[in-house]
Every structure is written in C-alpha cells, then in structure tokens.
C-alpha cells in the first residue's frame, strides 16, 4: 500500500470531534481549501467551522450560497468595484451594492462579529438593517473606500454597536455635516480600540474626541479627517494608550507656530501621519522620532531635504509612505538609517514644475541604495522617473523578502537610461522568489515580448499582476500566458494586445479567475472577445465614455476607453448593471 493511500485510510479513523478540534487550528484559507477537497466529511466539517471568508469580487457568488456553505462565519470581507475605481476609472454606479449581503447577514449569519466591505456601495438603510440584527455583537466594522452612506448611518452604528472595538471608514465617501455620531460613539462605547476616518471629509469636534479618549481607555489607534491638531492638545493628554495617530492638519497662520510646539504626544505613540505638515512643524516629531515605527508623509509639504532631516532620526522605522519628493537623496538616507524597513510606498507627486522639489524624483540610484540598505523589505511600491536593468537586478540580489513589488515609470522624462527592462525584470523575479503581487507600468518600448515571456516564466508564486504599456505584440502575451501557473487576477492597461490574444490568454492561464483590461486592439467585428466565453465566466463590457459635463483637466479627466471585466461566477449574470455596464456573456 503506498504511503499516500495509507495516510488517507488512517485519517478516517479520527473521530469527527477530534477532527474539528484539529481544524480549529487551521486558519490559512489555502489550507482550509485543501482540507475541504479531501472528502465529503472533511468538506462538511470545514464548512461548519470556517470562521473567515474573503470574497474578492462580490458578484462571484451569492449571499445564499455563502450562507448554505458557511453558516457559522464570524468574519466576512467583501470587495465590490474593480481596483481601478481607486484611480477614478470606474463609474460610481458600476455596482457593488451591499444590500443583498446585509439582508442575508441579518437573517442567517448568527455568529458574525466582523464585517469588512471594500469599494462597495453602502446605504444608510443597509446600515439600519445590519445594526438592528447584528449591532449587539458586532466587534469590527470596516467600510473601506465605500460610498452611499451619510452621517445618519454612522449615528445608527454609534448608538447600537456597543461592543465595537474597530470602526474604520477610511477613504469612504460619506455625506452629511454633523459630528453627532462621534459624540454618540463616545457616550455609548467603552471598548473601542481603533477609530479611523482618515481621508474622509467628516467633521470632527475636538471635545468629542476628548470624551472618546476618556471613555474608551483601550483606544490605541485614531486616524481622523482634517482638524487643526493644536485643538487636540487635551485629547493627546487624555489618550495615554495611543500608539497610532493619523490625520489632523496644520493651518499656517502667520506666526504662532508655538501652538504646535505645545503639543505633548502620548508616550507610546509610534505610528504617525500628519496632513499638511511642513518643515517647521515636523520638529514636533523629533522628540520621539527614534521610537517611530510607521510614518506617513504622503500628505505633507516637506521638501527632499526635509525628508532627509526627519528620516535620519528614525532608525526603527518599519513602514514608510512618501511621495517621490523624497528623491534619491532621501532614499539614500532611508537605506543608511532604516535597517528594519519592511514596507515602502513612494507615491507620485504633482507634475507641475515648481510645486514639487527639483530633487524630488526617484531613479535607479535611489532604488539600488535602498535594495542594499534595507534587506528586510517585503513591500515596495514606487513611481520612478528613470530606471535601469541594473537597479532591478540589484533588487533581485538583495531583496530576498520581497512579496509585493510595484513599479510605475512616469512619463516626465523623454529618454529613459536603459530600456527595455527585460533582463532586469527577469533577474528581479528570479531573485525574489516570494513575490506574490507584481505590478509593472512602463511605456512603449519598456518591455519587449521576450521580457513579457520572462514574467510568465519566472512568476511561480505570483497571484496578482498589473501591467501597463508592456510588450510589443500578441506573441508576448501568449508567451506570458504559458507561464504564471498561480496567477488569479490580471489587470492590463494601455497595452497593444488584440481581443483575440486576450481571450486566448484568459483561456490558457490555469488559475485565472479575474481579468480587467482597458486599452487594447479591438477586433474588426467585435466578436473575438467571445472566444473566451465559457460556463461560469462572466464577461462585462464598459463602452467608451465621453462626458462633456465632467471637467477635463490634466489630472481628473474622465474620458475613458472601453473596459473589459471578466470573472468566474457561480451566481450567473449580474442583475444590477447600470446602463454603462453591458454583460456580454451571459448576455
């Protein structure tokens, strides 16, 4: 009897109870998936004991199906709109309505304590239904980049959810001008640990935050919308357990910088991100800069030199978020100082000359220093103005812990030092075997078909890929699709591939369950896309849009080319498509 057969026979001798106990320790969703495939009994035990599910696109299944399989869920994460929505590329009414899910949760999910909704449309009525049924046991509610609700909805949450430990509304679009909900939260809750309404336009009254700090002695993380932080002096004195603070703002009245110098930050504060902070104000961080683990400078007014001055005082930094104003010089400082750095995001600053520091661009020099200096790096997202193969090879050599790599080549410079990046990309992927998420956005000529083939060949572990302006022809895409054995989600923008090649690639990639494309070569008679039509594969089409009502300025322009969205679904055709979305299959 082979070893494998013996193992399977022996497992059937384990009692259900024992199996349940053992499975209770198995949390990883991939392990759980494997467990559920062994046999019917193991499938059932997994189904009844599964605690958390993440649904990457809410239309891939239905609330009823989820309930029938995992009735005892304690935690659910749902994602709605495509990722491109964060870049203003998806119509607001595209979909992702949480209503049907909330109704199911209210009726049937009796164990649910934690709900995380990302890029979904959440109405006040949905909140009302949710808190009526589950408010008494909800411990964590995250509305992450959602829209559709108002402060009335927040009031309902504040009044009914007394067990809430985590309330996050980051970057959600919430209408309404009153801050009553914070007051209600402060009055009704005493266990809140995390409150986050960073990057929202919600109004906040400092007295309510003080009340919150007094009543919720476990508050460790607070991220707010804009509110001059000189009004928060009392709050900071009361919130003694605070470890993370984000938001606030600085208002540059003439003189009177002293008011900011009077702020005494809580003793354990180690994660900070202050909006509109300038060179003079950043000194308030100096007393505890050495303790900082997380620093968000994306929304500050610091120059390259300011970044150098600040970061050189932060040897314990693990997470850093900046704009490319940090420059190669700033990256040099990071490389020398921040030896524990795990995550680095370098966002794109303003294009206009004069609004950003002249030294404010990142190139191969900065990246190479970074790779050699910060060996613990796990996540790197960077907008560069220039790049070479050597820099990518350097990352491949040193950044052995890299799991998530995203590079965008800006279109500021006419000439790039070293293109195509075929060899560098190959070296990077070969050297960084742990990469699971990979994005490469270049320009025509940035990566040849050979290079695209390399990505396919060396992306063994990669689950998500975003590519822009890469490859030369369909041949490259087809070569790519021969590899990437674990690729689940593919996003392509501004590429030169035909519908036929896209369809062929979609059929060939063995693990692909989600495809988003904008910018491609259309077929003469519009039927090549359907080559990828098959059972359970939804294909949606967003026709090109030209709306003269939307202001068309350099950065916000809404004119958009056609988009294709395709994904596996057990739920069949969407029934809630707006006019701007056309289901092609099922039609």
């Amino acid at each position: 009897m082979s070893a494998r057969t013996l193992n399977r026979v022996m497992s059937f001798g384990i009692s259900d109870l024992a199996l349940e106990f053992v499975l209770g320790y198995v949390d990883d969703p991939r392990d759980r998936e494997a467990v559920s495939l062994v046999c019917k009994k193991w499938y059932q035990i997994d189904a009844l004991s599964r605690k958390h599910v993440t649904i990457a696109i809410c239309y891939s299944t239905s609330p009823g199906r989820l309930r029938r399989r995992f009735p005892n869920l304690e935690s659910l994460q749902l994602k709605g709109k495509p990722r491109a929505a964060m870049f203003n590329l998806i119509p607001e009414d595209w979909g992702g309505y949480v209503g049907p899910w909330i109704r199911e949760i209210a009726e049937a999910f009796n164990c649910l304590k934690s709900l995380h909704l990302r890029r979904m449309i959440v109405k006040d009525e949905d909140i009302r239904v949710l808190v009526k049924a589950r408010g008494h046991m909800l411990e964590s509610l995250k509305l992450d980049k959602c829209s559709g609700l108002s402060t009335d909805g927040l009031l309902l949450v504040a009044r009914s959810c007394r067990c809430l430990r985590i309330l996050s509304l980051e970057e959600s679009s919430i209408s309404g001008n009153d801050a009553k909900w914070i007051h209600e939260l402060a009055v009704n809750n005493s266990v809140l640990e995390t409150l986050n309404f960073y990057m929202t336009e919600l109004r906040v009254a400092p007295e309510d935050l003080e009340l919150l700090a007094k009543n919720c002695r476990s508050l460790v993380s607070l991220k707010i919308s804009e509110c001059d932080i000189s009004y928060l002096i009392s709050f900071f004195l009361i919130a003694t357990k605070l470890e993370e603070f984000g938001g606030g703002s600085f208002n540059d009245q003439v003189g009177d910088l002293d008011k900011y110098m009077k702020i005494q930050f809580p003793p354990k504060l180690c994660c900070v991100g202050l909006i509109f902070m300038g060179k003079n104000e950043m000194e308030i961080l100096f007393p505890f800069a050495a303790a900082l683990k997380k620093l968000d400078l994306q929304y500050t007014f610091l120059s390259t030199e300011d970044h150098c001055q600040l970061i050189q005082r932060c040897p314990n930094l693990e997470v850093l978020e900046v704009r490319d104003v940090i420059g190669d010089r700033g990256l040099e400082v990071v490389a020398q100082t921040c030896k524990k750095l795990r995550r680095l995001r370098i966002e794109r600053g303003d294009d206009d000359q004069g609004l950003e520091d002249e030294q404010g661009c990142v190139s191969q020099a900065g990246l190479s220093s970074l790779a050699q200096g910060c060996l613990e790096l796990e996540y790197l997202a960077v907008y560069v103005s220039d790049i070479t193969n050597a820099a990518l090879e350097c990352l491949g050599t040193y950044s052995k812990n890299l799991c998530d790599f995203r590079l965008v080549l800006l279109d500021r410079e006419q000439r790039i030092t070293d293109l195509p990046l075929d060899n560098g990309v190959r070296a990077l992927l070969k050297g960084c075997a742990k990469i699971r998420r990979f994005a490469l956005y270049l320009r025509p000529g940035g990566l040849s078909d050979v290079g695209l083939g390399y990505i396919g060949q060396y992306s063994n572990n990669v689950r998500w890929i975003l590519m822009g302006n890469i490859g030369e022809s369909d041949r490259g895409l087809l070569r790519f699709s021969q590899g990437c054995p674990r690729l689940q989600k593919l996003e392509l923008r501004s590429c030169c591939f035909t519908e036929r090649a896209l369809a062929m690639a979609a059929l060939r990639l063995p693990s692909l369950r989600y495809l988003w494309v904008q910018g491609y070569v259309a077929s003469p008679f519009g039927n090549d896309l359907l080559l990828m039509a098959r059972a359970f594969w939804n294909i949606e089409f967003i026709p090109p849009k030209h709306d003269v009502n939307e202001t068309e300025d350099r950065r916000g322009n809404i004119e958009s080319q056609a988009q294709i969205l395709a994904y596996y679904s057990l739920a069949g055709k969407r029934v809630d498509c707006p006019d701007s979305v056309i289901p092609l299959h099922p039609a």
């Binding site: 003439v254 794109r348 056609a562 006019d579």
Partner: protein
C-alpha cells in the same frame, strides 16, 4: 419575468443610445471617413461620423447578443432581434445621407489609440488639489510657479510677498 427582461433590454438600448448620442469631448482621430453600414431586415443604412470606438462598441454588443441568441431559448432569440432592431433605431438618430458604401480596411478603423495617461490615485489627487488651493489662497497675486512659492510651502509659515 418577461417584463423585467424587457425592462433590462430597454435599458441596454438606452445605454446604446447614450453611447451613440453623447458628443465627443475630443475625437481620438479624425472622426471617420469610413461610414458605418448596417444591414438589417433587408435594408441597409449608412452612418457617417461615428467615431471608431463607438462603432466598435456597437459591434461588440451586437456580436454578444448574436452569440446569446444562438444558444439561447426563443425568449433570448427575440431579445437579440429586439436589440438588433433597436440598434437600428438608435443609430437612426445620427444617420445622415447615405453615401456609396465604401469598403474600409478593418485594420485602419480598429487600431484604437491605446496609450493611456497614467491614472492618479484618488486620495493623492485630492491632496494635490487642496495643496494648490492653499497656495492660491496664500499668494493670489504671485505668478504661478516661482521659487518663492516653493519656499513658502515648505516652511509652513508664509512670508507675505
């Protein structure tokens, strides 16, 4: 059930109608010398000045409806006909005098402009807009991009110029 299907089809047509009748903010290239010709119900209609992207969008939708009609039940077959009919109807809003059917090379017509500008993340975009507003409020009479402005911004306390 039938009624809701009809409603959905109606909204598809509306979407098509809007797609076709919305003016172009900026034509991607010379609004077609090649007219779009549609044969339906034994008649031919020719439409001029349909931008290539819109023409392609029409064809993608029609092709998908035709596919669905092939495999579907009679209800779907009718739907495809309705859709086809409506395509004609909505296109007729833009039809002009038919010109002699000129054959077009598919390649020329359908090499859609594909180089798209890099999209900006919403959160960063809002921050940059707010920063511009603050700059404009502080020094409304200063010329747009001077080194003085930069100093003002990075130091946090304005030196009134």
């Amino acid at each position: 059930m039938e009624r809701s299907e009809a409603v959905k089809k109606e909204s598809r047509l509306n979407s098509l109608r809007r797609c076709l009748t919305m003016p172009m903010a900026r034509p991607s290239f010379a609004a077609s010398d090649s007219p779009l010709t549609i044969f339906y119900g034994g008649k031919a209609r020719v439409y001029n000045a349909i931008p290539p992207e819109k023409a392609q969008a029409i064809m993608v939708i029609a092709a998908a409806a035709a596919e669905a009609a092939k495999v579907g039940a009679p209800a779907e077959h009718n739907a495809a006909e309705v859709l086809g009919l409506a395509l004609t109807r909505s296109l007729s809003l833009q039809s002009s005098t038919a010109e002699g059917g000129q054959s077009t090379t598919p390649n020329a017509l359908f090499m859609l402009q594909t180089e798209l500008p890099i999209a900006r993340r919403h959160s960063l975009q809002r921050f940059l807009e707010k920063r511009r507003d603050r700059l404009a409020n502080k020094t409304p009479y200063a010329s747009a991009m001077s080194p003085n402005n930069m100093e003002v911004v990075s130091e946090g306390s304005p030196k009134l110029t």
